[in-house]
């Protein structure tokens, strides 16, 4: 599984639930695969995707998906404590782990000795899963996403390289994407 395959799988498994994509290539890939109003592309504020997802899930009660990265989680592991404190939070927090800061030149993330899953569990996430295979990832999303009622963490090991270079940056007014996303959430209330 590579990052594009993982993101495509998330988009196929979701329809109108809010999905937050982290900074770097994840937002760019997601927008390129399908640009939908339930997507929030977090182009800056590295490390805050799960906190934004926490605020949405807490305030709307809606199942909220976060597509995070290993570099972003290493930058702000405190987001796990923030989400883990809410036992009934319907937050589905995916971390796509390629071990690299890919969009800044492919430097290694200093997390080789870190278990993100153990961190999530220790922070209060009730359901913690690890996958390294596309078929298992698809099955996990099918079975666990729809029933998510508590902070859920999925560590996805990306073992394959991307087939092509990254899609273009998220262009245009970021505020426009924000208001489209907020309007989408308003129609769901």
């Amino acid at each position: 599984m590579n990052k594009t395959q993982a993101i495509r799988t998330v988009i196929e498994a979701t329809s109108d639930e809010p999905v937050i994509f982290t900074t770097g290539y994840s937002s760019r890939i997601a927008r390129h695969v399908a640009d939908r109003p339930n997507h929030f592309y977090m182009t800056g504020s590295m490390g805050l995707a799960a906190s934004i997802g926490t605020g949405i899930a807490l305030s709307s009660g809606r199942r909220t998906v976060v597509v995070d990265g290993d570099g972003a989680l290493a930058m702000n592991p405190g987001c796990l404590l923030t989400a883990g404190t809410f036992a009934d939070l319907p937050l589905f927090h995916l971390v796509l782990d390629d071990g690299l800061y890919e969009s800044t030149g492919g430097q290694s993330v200093p997390s080789r000795r870190v278990s993100f899953s153990a961190l999530a569990e220790a922070s209060g996430y009730a359901d913690v899963w690890q996958v390294d295979d596309l078929t298992k990832f698809q099955e996990l999303l099918r079975s666990k996403l729809i029933t998510c009622r508590t902070p859920t963490f999925v560590h996805c090991s990306l073992t394959e390289r991307e087939g092509s270079g990254p899609p273009p940056r998220v262009e245009g007014e970021l505020a426009w994407y924000q208001s489209r996303f907020a309007a989408h959430l308003a129609t769901q209330r």
Partner: protein, 167 residues
């Protein structure tokens, strides 16, 4: 106005204007306000201020009118969250920021942030009002006009002694 009344007045004024929920990190200056909000509304303590900004951003996009309470030291932690998320995405929220490092707080470790706070917010394009005990309801009106009416972020700055804090 007695100092404890200031915390009650501000808490009541914010709730009357439908601000909620509240996210923040505890602060000695804000403690009386924190207690009142905890008793009267949804107030959640978040372990770091930039995460509180992130959670508030999500809450705002979900249609709420969130408030973040923090000390200005936490504003330092939150600069990137404000600069790359709140401002460019135009996410409305109210920040209530206590002012360590300005008179009568002379603690050395807070002086630099005390000096940076207002210019930093001004350069970020976030309007501010410094709370004054005689104008609290009017200043809550101002905050509501900016955040709820204007759909933008704004900040209320809290002088160290407004709620009775002493160095």
């Amino acid at each position: 106005m007695a100092v404890l009344d200031c915390a009650s007045t501000l808490s009541g004024a914010l709730l009357e204007r439908n601000f909620a929920p509240f996210f923040g990190t505890p602060c000695g200056i804000l403690a009386p306000l924190y207690r009142r909000l905890e008793a009267a509304a949804n107030l959640w303590t978040v372990s770091r201020e930039d995460n509180a900004i992130g959670v508030a951003a999500g809450s705002a996009m979900a249609g709420h009118r969130p408030v973040v309470l923090m000390q200005n030291s936490g504003l330092g932690q939150s600069v990137n969250a404000i600069a790359s998320l709140v401002v460019p995405y135009q996410i409305p929220m109210l920040m209530i920021i206590s002012m360590r490092g300005v008179a009568p707080d002379s603690t050395t470790e807070n002086i630099v942030m005390g000096r940076l706070t207002e210019p930093l917010l001004a350069e970020a394009g976030i309007p501010t009002a410094t709370l004054d005990e005689d104008n609290l309801p009017a200043q809550a009106d101002w905050a509501a006009t900016e955040v709820i009416g204007g759909r933008r972020a704004a900040a209320l700055l809290v002088p160290p002694n407004l709620f009775g804090w002493q160095a």
